[in-house]
């Protein structure tokens, strides 16, 4: 265990100069990494199944915001553990959406309808 730690530390020390003096194409490679993911949990405000768009209401306390996102053909939609469709969602449903930010805005990779306690 101690040997592993020592090896890792030595490797890190050796790699630091390589990273800090990385050539421009390394930086480009880094920026081509997958976009960071964002998870939103909120109430469906609006859906356009044809356009593949979804608006969620999120917020803090009484300060609420709309988070618009689009879906892609690869977006996984799940309800009660089974595959679902965007058209099955309706305003008022509570969902968790895993998204990534693109130049065109948020794109959902996975949207799950949550079972929220009945009133």
């Amino acid at each position: 265990m101690r040997r592993n730690v020592r090896t890792a530390a030595l490797t890190a020390i050796l790699l630091v100069p390589l990273v800090t003096s990385a050539p421009a194409d390394w930086v480009a490679l880094t920026s081509a990494q997958p976009a960071p993911s964002y998870t939103y949990q909120g109430t469906v405000s609006a859906i356009n199944a044809r356009a593949g768009t979804l608006d969620l209401i999120t917020g803090v306390g009484m300060s609420l915001r709309v988070v618009p996102m689009t879906t892609a053909p690869t977006t996984r939609l799940v309800a009660a553990g089974a595959a679902s469709r965007l058209a099955d969602l309706k305003p008022g449903d509570v969902v968790r959406a895993e998204c990534r930010r693109t130049a065109a805005g948020l794109v959902a990779d996975r949207v799950e309808k949550l079972a929220v306690g009945a009133p």
């Binding site: 109430t43 405000s45 209401i57 999120t58 917020g59 803090v60 306390g61 009484m62 609420l64 915001r65």
Partner: protein, 379 residues
Amino acid sequence: MTRPRVALALLVLAVGCQKPLKPGDPLRGLSRAERDRFDRGKVVFDSVFTPETGLGPLFNSTGCGECHENPAGGRGDEVEVHATAFRGGVCDPLPQEGGPVIQQHTTPALKQALGLDEEPFPPSATARAMRTSPVVFGGGLLDLVPDSVLLAYADPGDQNHDGVKGRPNRFVDGRIGRFGRKAFVPTLREFNAGAFAAEMSVTNPQQPTEEDIGGKPIPAGVDPAADPEITQDALDLTDDFVRFLAPPTPLKLGKDGRRGRDLFPQVGCASCHIPTLHTGASPVPALRNRTFAAYTDLLLHDMGAGLADICLGLASPADFRTEPLLDLRGAEHFLHDGRAATLEQAIELHGGEGSGARDRFEALSAADRAALVAFLKSL
């Protein structure tokens, strides 16, 4: 003696020998560091924001203390406007049109840019509500009552046939709510952070973006402060100030008050205004595992068409959270919008699930009604 009455009696006995807590006092038993955070948080709470320090461009107040000022954390005389849309049984809090809180003031820069004196009323709204400033005493204790306790008091199907149902509200993300007149907000921390943004348009690390103006972006140049407009530290201090505010000690009861205390459950008030609640775990010993006089179940109840206004979350227009009866003696107006000038009027305006208790109150002798009111005025 029933369990809640035993708990209340023990509570009264326990605090009986101590100096009474006044409105605005901190909880007993805070550490020196916690007391220091209470004092520093009060400074932020009482501070006045300007456009240069984050106020606006739309706002209802220039600081927390403007609406919660008698004393800090208490009531104010402000009444604000809320609006939502209720269609097909679904509530839309209208964030696309500025959200449920309608800001009634604008900064000079926004007025100059758009000619607005207040936020435009959302065109899609189906209802308007008036809201008085609530007291925030005891909020830290209410925050720590476990969800399981609320769910245990819920009786959405009225299984016990007492005419009182009770159900939890849910925030937009599905969590159980408890703060606000519609029990919409799950935690005190979110209630406070949301208030900075919704009441003063002071962005903060929890809500780092400004609200649109009727769905349109804020014109360039009217919001000079960079977002977030307060730091996490300032937000945390304010949160601790509110969290550590104690519920005021009820006044000592005279003969009438004691009679009223006995009548309170007999009339049925205690079906919703549960006299005592118990907190759960907390890193703050002064808040942890505490029994306190709350007089609420933090649940929604249908209060009848006469009081109905806006929806919010799962709350229909007629649903309201059972108001905690904390510092009731300091109130000059009653109910969510201050429409009742006296406690008697407030009780008489209870409809829906509250109508049974109201009817039993009205059937009491004049002396017993006065006794019940005397008890309420001790809280």
